[in-house]
């Protein structure tokens, strides 16, 4: 069976980690064996999210192993932000919301970039397109990614699609968007100096 690895950018943020986890899950649901991975340390905000929904972080990789057949990039497309041996792998898909830059492939691929505030918003759409149901945990991960990328729907990059997805996902995840969102963003704010005083 062919092996597919899904990962986001270096210095991973919540969108990168959650999108890799949820997309790998969707692939598996659709009968394609896929594993999520990460290219760096989990930050505090993302750790809060994973703890809250009881989900394990993807495995850390330094490089893509030779036995990996297909690579799926989420939340980035620039090679500088990707794995070190990106030039040696076969990229079969990209799901992203950034401008396209310094990207190229030898073969045709599924490249899906949409001008929205978060990769998770696209993944929410892809679940609908495929008639796939989001679990409470996965809805929570996608919601967290949107909250993170749009600063609780307040950033200039936030679109109507992100706002709509966030409300939908909060319902499935069973959380209050505002309360959960603020807790999450607070967890991400660097409070290490303060904590030292506690």
């Amino acid at each position: 069976m062919s092996k597919t690895l899904i990962f986001g950018h270096k210095s991973p943020d919540t969108d990168t980690i959650c999108s890799a986890l949820v997309y790998a899950d969707l692939k598996n649901t659709l009968g394609v064996e896929a594993q999520p991975a990460r290219l760096g340390e989990i930050n505090k905000e993302t750790q809060f999210v994973l703890d809250y929904f009881g989900v394990e972080a993807p495995a850390y990789i330094e490089n893509v192993d030779e036995d990996v057949d297909n690579v799926v990039l989420v939340d980035h497309n620039e090679f500088q932000q990707s794995v070190d041996n990106i030039h040696d792998v076969r990229i079969t898909e990209v799901i992203d919301h950034h401008k396209v830059s310094n990207f190229e492939t030898r073969e045709p691929l599924y490249f899906r970039a949409e001008p929205v505030g978060c990769t998770a918003t696209i993944l929410n759409r892809m679940h609908k397109e495929n008639g796939a149901i989001l679990s409470r945990e996965n809805a929570g991960l996608l919601l967290s990614a949107i909250i993170s990328d749009t600063l609780l729907l307040k950033s200039p990059t936030c679109t109507a699609a992100d706002t709509e997805a966030a409300h939908e996902l909060a319902e499935i995840a069973g959380v209050n968007l505002e309360t959960y969102g603020l807790d999450m963003l607070k967890a991400g704010a660097d409070l290490s100096e303060n904590s030292a005083l506690d």
Copy 2:
């Protein structure tokens, strides 16, 4: 109202011309003013298609005018294959089935590349996604593009999605896939030397 121009590659083929025409029509149906354009001469095969379905060729452009706000690329993404002043325009969308190469933007965009045999196959999908009905003419144009790019579903680049779309579109266009397809490919074959003998 913002002006959107849609065009395929230089040395236009049937997919490039038909995809520009049909996508502009879909945009207009969806309430977005859009005009198709072409970057070169219509070839014999494409002329046969346009004559058969009674559709006018898109206007020829040498460069994108300054009053154009948005540019949509179909059937290509490499800047070398595009309009000369491609670096000065705002690309808001790409719909393509080729590898990604030498492409970049300053802003996020809707970039949709799928590993299928023809742009028209993606456009057929997009009609369904948007609940838009294809006219007989537009179905004929998309069908012709698939026949052209896949050599009547026989090329190694032809996928199951292309074959399925072609059969569907032939039905809507009211033509026999094989008969029409062969006539179309024959019209495209350079018979000028033979014709001189007729």
